[in-house]
Symmetry: C2
Subunit: 149 residues, 2 copies
């Protein structure tokens, strides 16, 4: 997708290449497919590598949780101005079916946005279009302390 | 700790070196500290590497969730005989404080064990002894289909 290079804030600075992407996102193969900050929605691609597999040869649930955290969080972070961030307070994941290694797509949305507390939801979809896991999360919008330099 | 090399089942086969550890566990720096299958408890060390960090320079919550999944699950799997496994159905994590990269310790326990459905709980502790995240999970005991070879 084409990214609005003028828009500021951490999410947009990463997309425009002004800031390096977070290591956790690189580890998960995070790749923006679509984002709509007005609607509060996002679609993200991930790559589940062999290093995420459990004894059954499918992706360990915790790594699916990591992908969902990195879908729901950015749905909110994409709406924040410079100097704000939004740590996840709580994450609940239900594992619907096994996920094979390869590409997965996360879809996230803001369910309700308060001044400080936000409720988020989303799902992770396999290449056949089936949901492998669904999640809800609570996040808190915070303002970075002023730079004391 | 000394592992009972005679005991069978996937968990014990890995500990005794008869089976390779799962890739997800290797990625998380999983290391057994203590396990008591009679009590249904386990203690596991993890290494949170730089590749798990979020934009704030602390461990992305999803990777803490992955560590908790790989603490609570093994608390149950250590009690299972050969031919049984226990996928996680659902995982709920609360993030209490930021976790810096380095060593974290997971403590997991079986809260209630049914014939099939088991309730698990645990926490992740930082080097100062403070809990960084707590979790509950539901798992289902399943029996592997017989080998048709």
């Amino acid at each position: 997708m084409t990214v609005d290079g003028q828009r500021r804030g951490f999410f947009w600075d990463v997309q425009a290449g002004r800031v390096a992407p977070p290591p956790a996102a690189v580890t998960l193969g995070w790749e923006l497919i679509a984002v709509d900050p007005e609607q509060g929605t996002i679609e993200v691609g991930f790559t589940a590598g062999e290093q995420f597999l459990n004894p059954a040869g499918v992706v360990q649930g915790g790594f699916l949780a990591a992908m969902l955290d990195d879908t729901l969080g950015p749905a909110l972070v994409a709406t924040l101005p410079e100097g704000q961030f939004a740590p996840t307070l709580d994450l609940h994941v239900q594992f619907l079916r096994p996920a094979r290694p390869g590409r997965l797509v996360g879809r996230g949305r803001i369910v309700q946005r308060g001044r400080e507390v936000c409720f988020l939801a989303g799902e992770l979809i396999d290449p056949d279009g089936r949901p492998v896991a669904v999640a809800t999360a609570t996040a808190r919008i915070m303002t970075m302390p002023p730079n004391r330099s």
